[in-house]
Symmetry: C2
Subunit: 207 residues, 2 copies
DNA sequence: AGCTGTCTTGACCGAACAGTCAAGACCCTA
DNA sequence: TAGGGTCTTGACTGTTCGGTCAAGACAGCT
């Protein structure tokens, strides 16, 4: 199981993810990635048949890195409303960190890659879809618990609500990147999540 | 006023918009655009100082082309709920048309460009922001009419709701592009708009 | 006819691009 | 210690990239 990824390959993936996240797939060359990873080009093509394959590996890496965090955010030990607040806070914090580190809000690398290259590289689209389904499983789980607690009606369409939540969050994060603006995430994201799911929000926007 | 844009320049803008919409900024070269517009490269650089400047002009063109359509969709002659239904139907129809014409759902060219290049080309970000503000003016207008008709409470935050609607629609359209899937637009967009604005939806999802 | 400004042309540039390859270094196992 | 698979290296390929340029075509004006 433990795939035992070689150090060089790991460095290439990490460098690619960082560079593509900051700018874009098309703006980052294989040479850029090799230089950032301190790896020669021949090694690159030893591990990856093409630049697009590395991009897919980078998407995978980004997703897998987040799994422990998502397990913590959606821990069944927390009440479901708390989990949603955790999610909103995490998204804001992660985007804020990217802005401080790279000078601008970086959004979601998988969504940006999917938008830029999904049509031309089917494997990128497929990887995005896989990750979308993976994330909506967390959302479905918390929605079911909201139903169980009576915070959502028993006949709520769990799958539909989870899909709506994914679309809402992705849109908000991408907009934050495009506009380079964290403020709407800080101010409105929590209420937006509640509204999207149909939970009566008692809170006012963050000051 | 009538800026009198030369035919050659017009062809370059149209070709650039089409090619970038289909694929992406980074995947389309100046040569590609020139070939599609049947224009020689020297002419290109006579009209545009750089590829990025053409992209901004293409965003402008895309937006201006839509203004008459938006005026029709949001005509004050229609009841406000009808305007929102018009909007949902237009978005679906436009995306469906792009899918039939180009083989896949193309999303919004300005959002894709903004995501891909906004960080590196400030003028692209600025143009996107200008267009976002322009569109939210339509949304604010219809929200005020919804308040006037008692469909929204008198103390509704018009600007906040308009911004939420923009984010929701952009997210939905970008997701349709990434996943190459029209179905959620057809099935859920109308209800999603109502939910985003806080209007009690009496309708069930489209079959 | 001559001038001027706008537009067009096609050849041209150096840099950057994705990708290749043969040769060798390294490490495990036999 | 010999062999073989994995990895590394750096030079290399042919193409394409965004952008430049000088020369000329063409129109409108005088």
């Amino acid at each position: 199981m433990g795939a035992q990824i070689p150090e060089t390959k790991r460095r290439l993936i990490a460098a690619a993810l960082e560079l593509i996240w900051r700018s874009s797939y098309g703006s980052v060359s294989v040479d850029d990635i090799c230089k950032a990873a301190d790896v020669r080009k021949g090694s690159f093509y030893h591990f990856f048949p093409s630049k697009a394959d590395l991009a897919v590996a980078a998407m995978d890496h980004a997703d897998i890195e987040l799994r422990a965090t998502y397990d913590r955010i959606f821990s069944p030990a927390s009440p479901p409303l708390q989990r949603l607040e955790n999610l909103a806070a995490f998204i804001y914090d992660a985007q804020k960190e990217s802005a401080e580190k790279y000078g601008h809000v970086c959004g979601c690398p998988c969504a940006s890659l999917g938008s830029e290259m999904g049509a031309q590289e089917p494997e990128i689209r497929a990887k995005f879809d896989e990750q979308r389904r993976h994330k909506t499983r967390y959302y479905q789980n918390v929605i079911r618990d909201l139903v169980a607690e009576g915070l959502l009606p028993a006949d709520a369409d769990v799958k539909a609500k989870a899909d709506e939540l994914f679309a809402y969050l992705m849109g908000r994060v991408m907009l934050a990147r495009i506009e380079n603006d964290l403020e709407p995430l800080r101010r409105d994201l929590k209420n937006g999540i509640f509204r999207t799911l149909g939970i009566a929000a008692e809170t006012t926007p963050a000051a």
